[in-house]
Symmetry: none
Protein backbone atom coordinates (compact mmCIF):
# COMPACT_ATOMS: atom_id res chain seq x y z
CA UNK A 1 0.00 0.00 0.00
CA UNK A 2 2.08 2.85 -1.14
CA UNK A 3 0.55 6.19 -0.74
CA UNK A 4 -0.17 7.62 -4.08
CA UNK A 5 -0.32 11.32 -3.94
CA UNK A 6 -1.54 13.32 -6.81
CA UNK A 7 0.61 16.40 -6.56
CA UNK A 8 -0.94 17.75 -9.71
CA UNK A 9 -3.67 20.13 -8.78
CA UNK A 10 -3.10 20.98 -5.18
CA UNK A 11 -6.29 22.97 -5.56
CA UNK A 12 -8.77 20.22 -6.17
CA UNK A 13 -7.14 17.25 -4.56
CA UNK A 14 -10.61 16.43 -3.27
CA UNK A 15 -11.40 12.78 -3.34
CA UNK A 16 -15.14 12.94 -2.97
CA UNK A 17 -16.33 13.31 0.60
CA UNK A 18 -18.16 10.35 2.17
CA UNK A 19 -21.87 10.70 1.73
CA UNK A 20 -23.04 8.35 4.40
CA UNK A 21 -21.83 7.49 7.85
CA UNK A 22 -21.11 3.99 6.66
CA UNK A 23 -18.94 5.26 3.84
CA UNK A 24 -17.19 7.46 6.33
CA UNK A 25 -16.31 4.64 8.67
CA UNK A 26 -15.28 2.45 5.80
CA UNK A 27 -12.87 5.11 4.74
CA UNK A 28 -11.74 5.65 8.29
CA UNK A 29 -10.80 2.00 8.74
CA UNK A 30 -8.84 1.99 5.54
CA UNK A 31 -7.01 5.17 6.33
CA UNK A 32 -6.39 4.91 10.03
CA UNK A 33 -3.04 3.12 9.81
CA UNK A 34 -1.40 5.74 7.74
CA UNK A 35 -2.48 8.63 9.90
CA UNK A 36 0.06 10.34 12.15
CA UNK A 37 -0.33 10.25 15.89
CA UNK A 38 -2.57 13.24 16.51
CA UNK A 39 -4.84 12.52 13.62
CA UNK A 40 -5.16 8.95 14.77
CA UNK A 41 -6.29 10.26 18.14
CA UNK A 42 -9.06 12.10 16.31
CA UNK A 43 -10.00 8.97 14.42
CA UNK A 44 -10.19 6.95 17.60
CA UNK A 45 -12.26 9.53 19.36
CA UNK A 46 -14.74 9.84 16.52
CA UNK A 47 -15.01 6.08 16.21
CA UNK A 48 -15.75 5.81 19.92
CA UNK A 49 -18.12 8.77 20.12
CA UNK A 50 -19.86 9.19 16.80
CA UNK A 51 -22.87 10.77 18.48
CA UNK A 52 -20.83 13.59 19.95
CA UNK A 53 -19.78 14.84 16.54
CA UNK A 54 -23.27 16.03 15.70
CA UNK A 55 -23.67 18.16 18.79
CA UNK A 56 -20.24 19.53 19.60
CA UNK A 57 -18.01 22.31 18.38
CA UNK A 58 -14.67 21.49 16.90
CA UNK A 59 -13.01 22.95 19.98
CA UNK A 60 -14.92 20.60 22.27
CA UNK A 61 -14.13 17.58 20.19
CA UNK A 62 -10.49 18.57 19.93
CA UNK A 63 -10.25 18.94 23.67
CA UNK A 64 -11.97 15.61 24.26
CA UNK A 65 -9.60 13.92 21.83
CA UNK A 66 -6.73 15.76 23.50
CA UNK A 67 -5.71 17.48 20.33
CA UNK A 68 -5.57 20.99 18.92
CA UNK A 69 -8.57 22.25 16.96
CA UNK A 70 -6.37 22.63 13.93
CA UNK A 71 -5.38 19.00 14.15
CA UNK A 72 -9.01 17.97 14.22
CA UNK A 73 -9.57 20.20 11.26
CA UNK A 74 -6.81 18.44 9.35
CA UNK A 75 -8.35 15.13 10.26
CA UNK A 76 -11.64 16.17 8.70
CA UNK A 77 -9.87 17.19 5.53
CA UNK A 78 -7.90 13.99 5.49
CA UNK A 79 -11.19 12.12 5.48
CA UNK A 80 -12.23 13.92 2.35
CA UNK A 81 -14.31 16.75 3.73
CA UNK A 82 -13.71 20.39 3.02
CA UNK A 83 -13.60 20.98 6.74
CA UNK A 84 -15.27 20.25 10.03
CA UNK A 85 -18.56 21.87 9.12
CA UNK A 86 -19.10 19.57 6.16
CA UNK A 87 -18.30 16.52 8.21
CA UNK A 88 -20.60 17.64 10.98
CA UNK A 89 -23.39 18.13 8.49
CA UNK A 90 -23.12 14.46 7.57
CA UNK A 91 -23.33 13.37 11.19
CA UNK A 92 -26.27 15.65 11.81
CA UNK A 93 -28.27 14.53 8.83
CA UNK A 94 -27.64 10.89 9.57
CA UNK A 95 -29.39 11.32 12.87
CA UNK A 96 -32.38 13.00 11.34
CA UNK A 97 -32.48 10.27 8.76
CA UNK A 98 -35.16 8.79 10.93
CA UNK A 99 -37.10 11.96 10.44
CA UNK A 100 -36.73 12.63 6.77
CA UNK A 101 -38.62 15.39 5.16
CA UNK A 102 -41.30 13.37 3.50
CA UNK A 103 -43.32 16.39 2.60
CA UNK A 104 -40.72 17.65 0.18
CA UNK A 105 -39.91 14.14 -0.95
CA UNK A 106 -43.49 13.64 -1.93
CA UNK A 107 -43.64 16.98 -3.66
CA UNK A 108 -40.60 15.93 -5.63
CA UNK A 109 -42.25 12.66 -6.53
CA UNK A 110 -45.28 14.54 -7.73
CA UNK A 111 -43.53 17.00 -9.94
CA UNK A 112 -41.64 14.22 -11.61
CA UNK A 113 -44.97 12.67 -12.46
CA UNK A 114 -43.70 9.34 -11.23
CA UNK A 115 -46.18 9.07 -8.42
CA UNK A 116 -47.28 5.58 -9.22
CA UNK A 117 -49.39 4.00 -6.52
CA UNK A 118 -46.61 1.58 -5.65
CA UNK A 119 -44.12 4.39 -5.16
CA UNK A 120 -46.60 5.99 -2.83
CA UNK A 121 -47.07 2.71 -1.03
CA UNK A 122 -43.34 2.52 -0.51
CA UNK A 123 -43.47 6.00 1.01
CA UNK A 124 -46.23 5.09 3.39
CA UNK A 125 -44.50 1.91 4.41
CA UNK A 126 -41.34 3.85 5.08
CA UNK A 127 -43.17 6.48 7.07
CA UNK A 128 -45.03 3.84 9.01
CA UNK A 129 -41.82 2.10 9.96
CA UNK A 130 -40.22 5.32 11.07
CA UNK A 131 -43.28 6.21 13.12
CA UNK A 132 -43.19 2.84 14.82
CA UNK A 133 -39.52 3.21 15.65
CA UNK A 134 -40.23 6.59 17.01
CA UNK A 135 -43.11 5.33 19.09
CA UNK A 136 -40.86 3.39 21.39
CA UNK A 137 -39.01 6.55 22.32
CA UNK A 138 -41.96 8.90 22.72
CA UNK A 139 -44.10 6.62 24.85
CA UNK A 140 -43.08 6.65 28.46
CA UNK A 141 -43.27 3.12 29.96
CA UNK A 142 -44.41 4.51 33.28
CA UNK A 143 -47.18 6.53 31.69
CA UNK A 144 -48.28 3.44 29.80
CA UNK A 145 -48.26 1.45 32.98
CA UNK A 146 -50.40 3.93 34.85
CA UNK A 147 -52.78 4.27 31.93
CA UNK A 148 -53.32 0.53 32.03
CA UNK A 149 -53.86 0.64 35.74
CA UNK A 150 -56.46 3.38 35.53
CA UNK A 151 -58.32 1.63 32.73
CA UNK A 152 -58.21 -1.74 34.43
CA UNK A 153 -60.02 -0.34 37.46
CA UNK A 154 -62.64 1.64 35.60
CA UNK A 155 -66.27 0.59 35.60
CA UNK A 156 -66.75 1.44 31.97
CA UNK A 157 -64.22 2.66 29.43
CA UNK A 158 -65.32 5.45 27.13
CA UNK A 159 -63.65 5.75 23.75
CA UNK A 160 -63.59 9.24 22.32
CA UNK A 161 -61.98 10.18 19.04
CA UNK A 162 -63.38 11.46 15.77
CA UNK A 163 -62.29 12.00 12.20
CA UNK A 164 -58.74 10.85 11.84
CA UNK A 165 -58.72 9.41 15.32
CA UNK A 166 -61.82 7.34 14.73
CA UNK A 167 -59.97 4.33 13.32
CA UNK A 168 -58.09 4.22 16.60
CA UNK A 169 -61.13 4.33 18.82
CA UNK A 170 -63.09 1.93 16.66
CA UNK A 171 -60.23 -0.54 16.80
CA UNK A 172 -60.13 -0.18 20.56
CA UNK A 173 -63.83 -0.79 20.63
CA UNK A 174 -63.40 -4.00 18.65
CA UNK A 175 -60.58 -5.22 20.87
CA UNK A 176 -62.42 -4.48 24.10
CA UNK A 177 -65.52 -6.19 22.85
CA UNK A 178 -63.51 -9.25 21.98
CA UNK A 179 -62.11 -9.36 25.49
CA UNK A 180 -65.48 -8.61 27.11
CA UNK A 181 -64.24 -5.39 28.63
CA UNK A 182 -67.13 -2.95 29.00
CA UNK A 183 -66.32 -0.10 26.64
CA UNK A 184 -68.47 2.45 24.88
CA UNK A 185 -67.48 3.93 21.56
CA UNK A 186 -68.61 7.53 21.36
CA UNK A 187 -69.61 7.51 17.77
CA UNK A 188 -71.09 10.94 17.29
CA UNK A 189 -74.02 9.45 15.40
CA UNK A 190 -76.81 11.94 14.87
CA UNK A 191 -74.58 14.46 16.61
CA UNK A 192 -75.76 13.08 19.90
CA UNK A 193 -73.33 13.55 22.67
CA UNK A 194 -72.86 10.52 24.86
CA UNK A 195 -70.90 12.59 27.33
CA UNK A 196 -73.56 12.42 29.98
CA UNK A 197 -72.92 8.68 30.24
CA UNK A 198 -69.55 9.27 31.80
CA UNK A 199 -69.54 8.50 35.51
CA UNK A 200 -67.05 9.19 38.22
CA UNK A 201 -65.83 5.60 38.35
CA UNK A 202 -65.37 5.39 34.60
CA UNK A 203 -62.31 6.07 32.50
CA UNK A 204 -62.00 7.81 29.16
CA UNK A 205 -59.54 7.19 26.37
CA UNK A 206 -59.49 10.36 24.32
CA UNK A 207 -57.63 10.49 21.02
CA UNK A 208 -56.99 13.53 18.88
CA UNK A 209 -54.19 14.91 16.77
CA UNK A 210 -53.57 18.32 15.28
CA UNK A 211 -55.79 19.93 14.14
CA UNK A 212 -57.56 18.94 17.32
CA UNK A 213 -61.22 18.05 17.28
CA UNK A 214 -63.16 20.35 19.58
CA UNK A 215 -65.72 17.74 20.48
CA UNK A 216 -63.04 15.40 21.79
CA UNK A 217 -61.55 18.15 23.93
CA UNK A 218 -64.95 19.04 25.30
CA UNK A 219 -65.77 15.50 26.28
CA UNK A 220 -62.34 14.96 27.80
CA UNK A 221 -62.69 18.14 29.84
CA UNK A 222 -66.11 17.10 31.02
CA UNK A 223 -64.86 13.68 32.04
CA UNK A 224 -62.07 15.26 34.04
CA UNK A 225 -64.57 17.53 35.78
CA UNK A 226 -66.68 14.58 36.73
CA UNK A 227 -63.66 12.92 38.27
CA UNK A 228 -63.28 10.15 35.71
CA UNK A 229 -59.80 8.97 34.80
CA UNK A 230 -58.48 10.31 31.52
CA UNK A 231 -55.99 8.67 29.20
CA UNK A 232 -54.97 11.09 26.47
CA UNK A 233 -53.50 9.83 23.22
CA UNK A 234 -52.23 12.82 21.28
CA UNK A 235 -49.24 14.08 19.36
CA UNK A 236 -47.30 16.62 21.38
CA UNK A 237 -47.16 17.99 24.90
CA UNK A 238 -48.50 21.31 23.71
CA UNK A 239 -51.65 19.64 22.46
CA UNK A 240 -54.77 20.99 24.15
CA UNK A 241 -55.73 17.45 25.03
CA UNK A 242 -52.48 16.87 26.87
CA UNK A 243 -53.11 19.99 28.90
CA UNK A 244 -56.43 18.82 30.22
CA UNK A 245 -54.58 16.43 32.45
CA UNK A 246 -54.71 12.73 33.04
CA UNK A 247 -52.19 10.26 31.68
CA UNK A 248 -50.56 11.35 28.45
CA UNK A 249 -49.41 8.95 25.78
CA UNK A 250 -47.61 10.80 23.02
CA UNK A 251 -47.41 9.51 19.49
CA UNK A 252 -45.71 11.65 16.93
CA UNK A 253 -46.75 10.26 13.65
CA UNK A 254 -45.03 11.28 10.45
CA UNK A 255 -47.01 12.27 7.43
CA UNK A 256 -46.83 11.88 3.70
CA UNK A 257 -48.17 15.06 2.25
CA UNK A 258 -51.39 15.89 3.99
CA UNK A 259 -51.92 12.37 5.30
CA UNK A 260 -50.58 10.94 8.43
CA UNK A 261 -49.77 7.32 8.92
CA UNK A 262 -51.71 5.71 11.73
CA UNK A 263 -49.47 2.73 12.32
CA UNK A 264 -47.98 4.00 15.54
CA UNK A 265 -51.27 5.15 17.02
CA UNK A 266 -52.92 1.85 16.21
CA UNK A 267 -50.06 -0.12 17.70
CA UNK A 268 -50.21 1.89 20.86
CA UNK A 269 -53.96 1.45 21.02
CA UNK A 270 -53.89 -2.29 20.66
CA UNK A 271 -51.15 -2.55 23.24
CA UNK A 272 -53.27 -0.59 25.64
CA UNK A 273 -56.31 -2.72 24.95
CA UNK A 274 -54.57 -6.05 25.35
CA UNK A 275 -52.79 -4.92 28.51
CA UNK A 276 -56.01 -3.70 30.02
CA UNK A 277 -57.77 -6.91 29.06
CA UNK A 278 -55.05 -8.95 30.73
CA UNK A 279 -54.98 -6.73 33.82
CA UNK A 280 -58.73 -7.01 34.31
CA UNK A 281 -58.56 -10.78 34.24
CA UNK A 282 -56.15 -10.69 37.11
CA UNK A 283 -58.44 -8.61 39.26
Amino acid sequence: MECVKLEKTDLMTNIAAPETIDAFFERLTGEVDRLPKRLKQCADYVAANPDKVAVSTIAELAEAADVQPSAFMRFCQEMGFSGFSQMQKLFRSDYSQKWPDYTTRLAKLREHGTDSPSALLAEFVDVGRASLENLITTVDPDALQSAVKALAHADTIHLVGFRRAFPVTSYLSYAFEKMSVPAILHSGIACMSMAQLIQKQDAVIAVTFAPYTQETLTIAGLAKDRGADLVAITDVVTSPLARIGGTQLLVSELDVGAFRALSASLSLAITLAVSVGAARERI
Copy 2:
Protein backbone atom coordinates in the same frame (compact mmCIF):
# COMPACT_ATOMS: atom_id res chain seq x y z
CA MET B 1 -20.21 32.70 35.54
CA GLU B 2 -23.81 33.24 34.57
CA CYS B 3 -24.56 36.85 34.94
CA VAL B 4 -27.96 37.05 36.49
CA LYS B 5 -29.63 40.35 35.92
CA LEU B 6 -31.24 41.45 39.08
CA GLU B 7 -31.45 45.16 38.70
CA LYS B 8 -34.63 45.24 36.65
CA THR B 9 -37.26 43.49 38.66
CA ASP B 10 -40.21 44.55 36.56
CA LEU B 11 -41.50 41.01 36.61
CA MET B 12 -40.52 37.67 37.91
CA THR B 13 -38.54 37.13 34.80
CA ASN B 14 -35.65 35.55 36.59
CA ILE B 15 -37.07 32.11 36.99
CA ALA B 16 -34.30 29.57 36.76
CA ALA B 17 -33.85 27.88 33.43
CA PRO B 18 -35.14 24.30 33.14
CA GLU B 19 -32.41 21.82 33.86
CA THR B 20 -33.89 18.76 32.28
CA ILE B 21 -35.90 18.14 29.17
CA ASP B 22 -38.79 17.02 31.29
CA ALA B 23 -38.73 20.21 33.30
CA PHE B 24 -38.62 22.10 30.05
CA PHE B 25 -41.69 20.42 28.66
CA GLU B 26 -43.50 20.80 31.92
CA ARG B 27 -42.85 24.49 31.79
CA LEU B 28 -43.79 24.60 28.14
CA THR B 29 -47.10 22.97 28.88
CA GLY B 30 -47.93 25.49 31.53
CA GLU B 31 -46.85 28.48 29.56
CA VAL B 32 -48.09 27.69 26.09
CA ASP B 33 -51.46 29.37 26.50
CA ARG B 34 -49.89 32.65 27.49
CA LEU B 35 -47.68 32.80 24.47
CA PRO B 36 -48.53 34.99 21.50
CA LYS B 37 -48.95 33.50 18.06
CA ARG B 38 -45.39 33.35 16.81
CA LEU B 39 -44.00 32.15 20.08
CA LYS B 40 -46.60 29.45 20.16
CA GLN B 41 -45.48 28.34 16.73
CA CYS B 42 -42.03 27.91 18.20
CA ALA B 43 -43.45 25.94 21.09
CA ASP B 44 -45.35 23.63 18.79
CA TYR B 45 -42.37 23.08 16.56
CA VAL B 46 -40.08 22.27 19.45
CA ALA B 47 -42.63 19.96 20.99
CA ALA B 48 -42.97 18.10 17.71
CA ASN B 49 -39.26 18.07 16.85
CA PRO B 50 -37.25 18.12 20.04
CA ASP B 51 -34.43 16.26 18.33
CA LYS B 52 -33.95 18.95 15.75
CA VAL B 53 -33.13 21.52 18.39
CA ALA B 54 -29.91 19.75 19.24
CA VAL B 55 -28.54 19.74 15.73
CA SER B 56 -29.81 22.90 14.10
CA THR B 57 -28.97 26.56 14.13
CA ILE B 58 -31.51 29.05 15.36
CA ALA B 59 -31.98 30.22 11.78
CA GLU B 60 -32.84 26.72 10.60
CA LEU B 61 -35.28 26.15 13.41
CA ALA B 62 -36.87 29.53 12.90
CA GLU B 63 -37.37 28.80 9.24
CA ALA B 64 -38.82 25.37 9.98
CA ALA B 65 -41.22 26.88 12.48
CA ASP B 66 -42.03 29.62 9.98
CA VAL B 67 -40.87 32.36 12.29
CA GLN B 68 -38.12 34.97 12.45
CA PRO B 69 -34.90 34.04 14.27
CA SER B 70 -35.52 36.82 16.73
CA ALA B 71 -38.92 35.37 17.56
CA PHE B 72 -37.34 32.04 18.28
CA MET B 73 -34.82 33.80 20.43
CA ARG B 74 -37.59 35.42 22.41
CA PHE B 75 -39.21 32.06 22.82
CA CYS B 76 -36.05 30.66 24.38
CA GLN B 77 -35.92 33.55 26.80
CA GLU B 78 -39.57 33.16 27.59
CA MET B 79 -38.85 29.59 28.60
CA GLY B 80 -36.33 30.80 31.12
CA PHE B 81 -33.09 30.48 29.19
CA SER B 82 -30.66 33.30 28.65
CA GLY B 83 -30.93 32.62 24.95
CA PHE B 84 -30.91 29.97 22.30
CA SER B 85 -27.43 28.71 23.08
CA GLN B 86 -28.32 27.81 26.63
CA MET B 87 -31.44 26.02 25.56
CA GLN B 88 -29.60 24.15 22.86
CA LYS B 89 -27.05 23.00 25.38
CA LEU B 90 -29.82 21.27 27.30
CA PHE B 91 -31.14 19.55 24.21
CA ARG B 92 -27.68 18.50 23.18
CA SER B 93 -26.91 16.80 26.44
CA ASP B 94 -30.15 14.88 26.16
CA TYR B 95 -29.40 13.96 22.59
CA SER B 96 -26.55 11.58 23.34
CA GLN B 97 -28.80 9.54 25.56
CA LYS B 98 -31.15 8.47 22.85
CA TRP B 99 -28.55 7.48 20.32
CA PRO B 100 -28.72 3.78 20.96
CA ASP B 101 -30.33 2.31 17.91
CA TYR B 102 -33.74 0.89 17.43
CA THR B 103 -32.84 -2.67 18.37
CA THR B 104 -31.22 -1.64 21.61
CA ARG B 105 -34.14 0.52 22.65
CA LEU B 106 -36.51 -2.27 21.80
CA ALA B 107 -34.54 -4.66 23.96
CA LYS B 108 -34.65 -2.14 26.78
CA LEU B 109 -38.43 -1.93 26.57
CA ARG B 110 -38.68 -5.69 26.68
CA GLU B 111 -36.58 -6.15 29.75
CA HIS B 112 -39.06 -3.96 31.59
CA GLY B 113 -40.78 -7.20 32.48
CA THR B 114 -42.14 -9.85 30.17
CA ASP B 115 -45.79 -9.16 30.69
CA SER B 116 -45.50 -5.43 31.21
CA PRO B 117 -47.35 -3.11 28.84
CA SER B 118 -44.08 -1.82 27.41
CA ALA B 119 -42.91 -5.29 26.54
CA LEU B 120 -46.15 -5.78 24.72
CA LEU B 121 -45.69 -2.49 22.95
CA ALA B 122 -42.28 -3.62 21.80
CA GLU B 123 -43.92 -6.73 20.49
CA PHE B 124 -46.57 -4.88 18.52
CA VAL B 125 -44.05 -2.42 17.14
CA ASP B 126 -41.89 -5.26 15.95
CA VAL B 127 -44.79 -7.09 14.40
CA GLY B 128 -46.04 -3.90 12.78
CA ARG B 129 -42.69 -3.30 11.18
CA ALA B 130 -42.52 -6.81 9.87
CA SER B 131 -46.01 -6.53 8.45
CA LEU B 132 -45.12 -3.34 6.68
CA GLU B 133 -42.03 -4.88 5.16
CA ASN B 134 -44.12 -7.78 4.07
CA LEU B 135 -46.71 -5.53 2.50
CA ILE B 136 -44.33 -4.36 -0.20
CA THR B 137 -43.92 -7.90 -1.43
CA THR B 138 -47.48 -9.14 -1.12
CA VAL B 139 -49.17 -6.27 -2.90
CA ASP B 140 -48.97 -6.59 -6.64
CA PRO B 141 -48.17 -3.21 -8.24
CA ASP B 142 -50.33 -3.97 -11.25
CA ALA B 143 -53.27 -4.90 -9.08
CA LEU B 144 -52.80 -1.70 -7.13
CA GLN B 145 -52.66 0.29 -10.33
CA SER B 146 -55.84 -1.22 -11.69
CA ALA B 147 -57.61 -0.78 -8.37
CA VAL B 148 -56.78 2.90 -8.49
CA LYS B 149 -58.00 3.12 -12.04
CA ALA B 150 -61.31 1.49 -11.25
CA LEU B 151 -61.86 3.67 -8.21
CA ALA B 152 -60.87 6.83 -10.03
CA HIS B 153 -63.60 6.28 -12.61
CA ALA B 154 -66.33 5.29 -10.24
CA ASP B 155 -69.30 7.54 -9.59
CA THR B 156 -69.35 6.79 -5.90
CA ILE B 157 -67.03 4.66 -3.84
CA HIS B 158 -68.59 2.36 -1.27
CA LEU B 159 -66.57 1.38 1.74
CA VAL B 160 -67.47 -1.96 3.25
CA GLY B 161 -65.74 -3.52 6.22
CA PHE B 162 -66.85 -4.32 9.74
CA ARG B 163 -65.43 -5.32 13.07
CA ARG B 164 -61.66 -5.56 12.72
CA ALA B 165 -61.78 -4.08 9.24
CA PHE B 166 -63.78 -1.08 10.32
CA PRO B 167 -60.77 1.04 11.26
CA VAL B 168 -59.60 0.59 7.69
CA THR B 169 -62.84 1.65 6.07
CA SER B 170 -63.38 4.52 8.47
CA TYR B 171 -59.92 5.83 7.72
CA LEU B 172 -60.65 5.57 4.02
CA SER B 173 -63.85 7.45 4.61
CA TYR B 174 -61.95 10.23 6.35
CA ALA B 175 -59.33 10.44 3.62
CA PHE B 176 -61.87 10.53 0.82
CA GLU B 177 -63.88 13.19 2.55
CA LYS B 178 -60.77 15.30 2.92
CA MET B 179 -60.10 15.01 -0.78
CA SER B 180 -63.73 15.58 -1.73
CA VAL B 181 -64.04 12.17 -3.33
CA PRO B 182 -67.62 10.91 -3.07
CA ALA B 183 -67.48 7.89 -0.81
CA ILE B 184 -70.02 6.19 1.41
CA LEU B 185 -69.03 4.37 4.55
CA HIS B 186 -71.28 1.38 5.07
CA SER B 187 -71.53 1.63 8.79
CA GLY B 188 -74.03 -1.06 9.62
CA ILE B 189 -75.84 1.27 12.00
CA ALA B 190 -79.13 -0.15 13.17
CA CYS B 191 -78.30 -3.20 11.08
CA MET B 192 -79.53 -1.37 8.05
CA SER B 193 -77.95 -2.53 4.89
CA MET B 194 -76.86 0.19 2.55
CA ALA B 195 -76.26 -2.33 -0.16
CA GLN B 196 -79.13 -1.14 -2.28
CA LEU B 197 -77.28 2.13 -2.78
CA ILE B 198 -74.67 0.46 -4.94
CA GLN B 199 -75.09 1.30 -8.62
CA LYS B 200 -73.56 -0.14 -11.74
CA GLN B 201 -71.18 2.80 -12.20
CA ASP B 202 -70.00 2.69 -8.61
CA ALA B 203 -67.06 0.91 -7.08
CA VAL B 204 -66.77 -0.96 -3.80
CA ILE B 205 -63.79 -1.34 -1.53
CA ALA B 206 -64.47 -4.38 0.59
CA VAL B 207 -62.21 -5.29 3.49
CA THR B 208 -62.30 -8.42 5.56
CA PHE B 209 -59.84 -10.78 7.14
CA ALA B 210 -60.18 -14.24 8.64
CA PRO B 211 -62.58 -15.00 10.21
CA TYR B 212 -64.45 -13.31 7.41
CA THR B 213 -67.49 -11.20 8.11
CA GLN B 214 -70.50 -12.57 6.29
CA GLU B 215 -72.09 -9.19 5.78
CA THR B 216 -69.06 -7.91 3.90
CA LEU B 217 -69.05 -10.93 1.63
CA THR B 218 -72.76 -10.52 0.94
CA ILE B 219 -72.44 -6.88 0.01
CA ALA B 220 -69.38 -7.55 -2.14
CA GLY B 221 -71.20 -10.31 -3.97
CA LEU B 222 -74.20 -8.11 -4.53
CA ALA B 223 -72.02 -5.32 -5.89
CA LYS B 224 -70.40 -7.72 -8.31
CA ASP B 225 -73.80 -8.93 -9.50
CA ARG B 226 -74.88 -5.37 -10.15
CA GLY B 227 -71.81 -4.81 -12.29
CA ALA B 228 -70.01 -2.46 -9.93
CA ASP B 229 -66.23 -2.62 -9.71
CA LEU B 230 -64.87 -4.44 -6.69
CA VAL B 231 -61.59 -3.87 -4.93
CA ALA B 232 -60.98 -6.56 -2.34
CA ILE B 233 -58.59 -6.02 0.53
CA THR B 234 -58.11 -9.32 2.29
CA ASP B 235 -55.47 -11.64 3.66
CA VAL B 236 -54.97 -14.59 1.36
CA VAL B 237 -55.96 -15.70 -2.15
CA THR B 238 -58.16 -18.40 -0.72
CA SER B 239 -60.22 -15.88 1.19
CA PRO B 240 -63.91 -16.00 0.22
CA LEU B 241 -63.68 -12.30 -0.55
CA ALA B 242 -60.89 -12.86 -3.04
CA ARG B 243 -62.95 -15.52 -4.75
CA ILE B 244 -65.80 -13.19 -5.50
CA GLY B 245 -63.67 -11.52 -8.12
CA GLY B 246 -62.59 -7.97 -8.78
CA THR B 247 -59.15 -6.61 -8.02
CA GLN B 248 -57.42 -8.30 -5.11
CA LEU B 249 -55.03 -6.57 -2.78
CA LEU B 250 -53.49 -8.99 -0.34
CA VAL B 251 -52.18 -8.01 3.06
CA SER B 252 -50.75 -10.65 5.29
CA GLU B 253 -50.73 -9.13 8.70
CA LEU B 254 -48.85 -10.80 11.53
CA ASP B 255 -50.37 -11.17 14.95
CA VAL B 256 -49.43 -10.97 18.59
CA GLY B 257 -51.48 -13.54 20.39
CA ALA B 258 -55.05 -13.19 19.33
CA PHE B 259 -54.64 -9.69 17.99
CA ARG B 260 -53.50 -8.71 14.60
CA ALA B 261 -51.65 -5.54 13.83
CA LEU B 262 -53.37 -3.24 11.38
CA SER B 263 -50.39 -1.19 10.29
CA ALA B 264 -50.06 -2.78 6.89
CA SER B 265 -53.75 -2.65 6.08
CA LEU B 266 -53.97 0.99 7.07
CA SER B 267 -50.94 1.88 5.00
CA LEU B 268 -52.35 0.14 1.98
CA ALA B 269 -55.68 1.87 2.50
CA ILE B 270 -54.22 5.34 2.73
CA THR B 271 -52.08 4.72 -0.33
CA LEU B 272 -55.15 3.70 -2.23
CA ALA B 273 -57.05 6.75 -1.09
CA VAL B 274 -54.32 9.24 -1.92
CA SER B 275 -53.67 7.66 -5.30
CA VAL B 276 -57.34 7.74 -6.16
CA GLY B 277 -57.61 11.32 -5.01
CA ALA B 278 -54.69 12.31 -7.21
CA ALA B 279 -55.98 10.32 -10.16
CA ARG B 280 -59.41 11.92 -9.97
CA GLU B 281 -57.89 15.37 -10.03
CA ARG B 282 -56.23 14.53 -13.29
CA ILE B 283 -59.46 13.47 -14.94
